[in-house]
Subunit: 73 residues, 2 copies
């Protein structure tokens, strides 16, 4: 069941293509994330990577991650 | 770093409380999902659970999951 997904990508950097989701698809992904408890693991890993220096610690993103984490624990 | 998260929940069912994220937080979660490749696993698991009968197969949700899966593989 392969649909033509070429138009669902948006160029964000030289070689970076960001998938374009519809609002409904985003809502579904978010509710899946929360209902399966994946959100906590996903966000905790990212915070940890930033704190360990494995990922660039960009303060506004870091703050948002902490806010999300506080909501899902 | 605990903030007051009580107002970030929305009642959606008798005992179901859905976390309320801001638009920025949603965008961050979605970009994390895609960049860490978690999206594929998350969606594949859900599709599988529906096909195996472990979760109720609701056709419009199932179709959306397939669309998302086609975008992230």
């Amino acid at each position: 069941m392969l649909t033509d997904t070429r138009n669902s990508f948006r160029r964000i950097g030289d070689d970076d293509w960001m998938v374009q989701f519809t609002e409904e698809e985003k809502e579904l992904l978010i509710s899946l994330l929360v209902s399966t408890n994946f959100a906590k693991e996903l966000v905790a890993n990212e915070i940890n990577d930033m704190e360990m220096g494995e990922k660039k610690l960009e303060s506004s993103t870091y703050k948002k991650l902490i806010q999300i984490y506080d909501k899902v624990i």
